[in-house]
């Protein structure tokens, strides 16, 4: 225990971790060339250990840890800093600056950890006049089974795509069948079946019998998303109900919902972008898309939306535009994209980025605290230094008081101004 305490409070550990962080950022950045931003983030920063998985020897797959991941470095750094802070903490005015700086850094690390775990980013994409009560994830997908629950409601059972591994069998008390994943691919393209060139269809039921799936390599750049597919066989009472193809392509191309009938029940199934339902509905009323004359450079993107909250009986219209997000019900809505409906060029479309981050204030507060701490520390030393050089300033003199007033005034103004900016005023 003592050894552990010594380990966490040692300055060498902090220096070593900072050096590792620099290397991690270096490798992680280079890795984006091959892996793309999202995957590189997952491999290097959102992991405990960076694992090299490609080594194969005598048919065995080896997983070799090659570097501490972002989580590990961050956690140990946080623990080390906290331990050192506890160990060296003394409550004295002249130590206030150092203590605040360290406390601020701890808050920054903690805030980052919380953001990592709690923050969620999604999008609402709608056309003018359309109302939506949910946002969709921009990368994750889910397999949904939807059943009519009466009273105008539906019961939805969703299986995250990460569970759809080829060969997996998925059971749930709410599902009247077992889902066997016959094949799963991260990205694909579909086309109408060409009986002249295609072999027999893998799907035996639903729209999948009429299309052919062409697997594609995983999309790694930021602008495109993967459209996965899965062939799922449904088994009830030991019998196969058939094999269905599920992919977000089907609803996107206007294919009718795939309905499964089992034991007198009707269930709809779709592999769709992961949804997050909100307790309110949002209607896109109008989009304004201004460009600088004669150019394609956007001048102003603006979405006018109506928010109707059934619970609070609130209904209001808001403009969302650049640097003016809407904060509502713990969510922040930013203007993300704009376009035109391909079916109706007169009709505008808009995409709002929806961010839920309960710890969004943590980095700001952390920066404030670090800033104030550093200011106090440097000020203390500067005053001491100047005092030695120039011979002390007379305490209580008019100069000293007015200097103090000026200092507090300037500082207060800056903090006030920053805070207003932070909240968008």
């Amino acid at each position: 225990m003592k050894l552990l305490w010594k380990f966490f409070t040692s300055l060498r550990l902090t220096v070593a971790l900072l050096a590792l962080s620099v290397l991690l950022i270096f490798f992680g950045t280079l890795s984006q060339v091959d892996e793309g931003l999202w995957k590189a983030q997952k491999i290097w920063f959102e992991s405990w250990i960076v694992i090299w998985q490609h080594l194969q020897l005598f048919g065995w797959k080896f997983t070799i840890p090659i570097f501490p991941g972002g989580y590990l470095i961050g956690t140990v750094l946080f623990l080390g800093l906290t331990a050192a802070f506890i160990k060296r903490f003394t409550w004295r005015w002249d130590k206030l600056g150092v203590n605040l700086t360290h406390g601020g850094v701890i808050l920054l690390l903690l805030g980052q950890l919380l953001t990592q775990e709690l923050a969620l980013e999604s999008y609402i994409e709608f056309k003018e006049g359309e109302t939506k009560g949910y946002a969709e994830h921009h990368r994750d997908n889910e397999l949904a089974f939807i059943r009519d629950a009466g009273d105008g409601r539906e019961e939805v059972v969703v299986i995250p795509e990460s569970m759809l591994k080829t060969g997996a069998e998925i059971r749930h008390e709410k599902l009247p069948f077992t889902v066997r994943v016959k094949e799963h691919g991260l990205n694909c393209q579909i086309r109408r079946r060409g009986p002249l060139v295609d072999g027999p269809a893998t799907a035996t039921q639903g729209a999948g019998t009429q299309v052919t799936v062409e697997p594609r390599a995983e999309a790694k750049d930021m602008d495109s998303r993967n459209l996965p597919y899965a062939y799922i066989e449904l088994l009830a009472g030991g019998n196969s109900l058939g094999t269905w193809l599920v992919t977000p392509w089907l609803p996107m191309l206007g294919s009718a919902a795939q309905v499964i009938e089992v034991g007198g029940q009707k269930l709809r199934t779709e592999l769709r972008f992961e949804r997050y339902y909100q307790p309110f509905e949002m209607t896109l009323l109008k989009t304004s898309h201004e460009q600088y004359r004669g150019t394609d450079i956007p001048k102003n993107f603006r979405s006018r939306v109506r928010v109707v909250d059934g619970k609070t009986r609130e209904a209001r219209e808001v403009d969302i535009y650049m640097n003016h997000p809407l904060r509502y019900a713990g969510l922040t809505f930013y203007q993300a994209r704009m376009g035109k409906d391909p079916d109706d060029p007169q009709r505008g479309t808009s995409a709002l980025q929806v961010v839920r981050n309960p710890s969004w204030l943590a980095p700001y507060v952390g920066c404030y605290v670090v800033g104030i701490g550093m200011y106090l520390q440097f000020r203390l030393h500067l005053v001491k230094f100047l005092g030695k050089r120039l011979g002390g300033v007379r305490q209580g003199g008019l100069g000293a008081i007015s200097a103090r007033v000026l200092e507090v005034g300037v500082l207060g103004y800056l903090v006030f101004k920053f805070t207003l900016n932070l909240f968008g005023y």
């Binding site: 966490f8 019961e155 939805v156 059972v157 393209q189 109408r192 060409g194 996107m252 994209r337």
Partner: protein, 407 residues
Amino acid sequence: MTERTPSMRRVAAKGTRVECSTRRPKETDRNRIVSTLEMPIGEGADVQLPLHPFRMIHRTPLTILAAAAALCAGGCDREEIRVYSVAKETAPAPAPAAPAASSAPAPAADAPRPQLAYTLPAGWQDAGSTAMSLANFRIKTDAGEASVNITPLASMAGQEVLVVNMWREQVGQKPLAESELAGTLTPVEIGGEKGQLFEISGLREGQTVRIITAFAHRAGASWFYKLQGPDAILTAQKPVFVEFLKTVRIKEAGAPAAEVAKVAAPAAPAAAEPESEFKWKVPAGWQTLPAGQMQVAKFAVPARDGAKAEVFVSVFPSDTGGALANVNRWRKQLGLEAVDEAGLKALATPLDAAPGALLVDLKNDARAMLGAIVPRGERWWFYKLMGDAAAVTAEREAFVRFVQSAP
């Protein structure tokens, strides 16, 4: 207060060996600390480390680690099935902007389709039609299985190079230049019209594939006839395929029967005739329905206590593979095992409609079928009454009378 330097703090920490134990510092410890720090006793009060609130935490630094791990474990766990209830969607979810990848053709609504007539060679089995192919056949031999499809596509007249290269690409062959094309295509007769035939072979998904394709351009469409399978079967089946092509007749959807007559060779009779030309007596209570693919008529018989059945009539210029193949196709539709020649004899009863006419009675649980094959002149008439057993049994007599009446 004496100014403490960081190095003194370290000494203080070193001196307070009590930090990681639960015992309070003894007076001697305290004195030792104080003596180390060279501080008066009164000043040493804040060095009573175990009493400081922060100092209490560090007794178990592992708790912090555990808490962090627990936090992560709670947050990281997204691999679970969720169940929730939402208001019913009123409108279908709109299509999100398609990613840059590319566009795929949307499955189009079914339009009326042309009809086909042909003489089915021996050993070929009708595998029905699919969304794209109007007709599919299976050829099963000891050497393996081959398939034949007939598919109309948008006209590709004048784009023969494209047609050939489209197939070559499918089996991993290099595309041909226009000048190399002449040696590839051989003329062939398809239903009295001029068509062309080519062969390719290559690898597809690691297996050797040989494809013989014939095609002919008609008004607004190019018709493709593809024979695909293992080399040995295709060598044997190629002459059969070429003969088969001569017998194919196409009746465009919505086109009058005369159109078929025009393209048909004089010897081959028309595949289908408008319903109005039939002289048969439709039993009372039967409801005429729009005929489906390859059918000349379709009826719904009266429902009995919810039990329903339908009658289908098709006409072909051949026996389409013989009675056995057709009866086995029907058995398969009911989920029954195939029978052999002896089994067919036991099943079929002669029908007093025409010489060689037969009737089969098939039943599987609640589903039943009455099938009749009636050769009349140069045509074979296929009648089928299929549906819930109760309705089929009730309608048996009416069906037999209907089959016996001259069409």
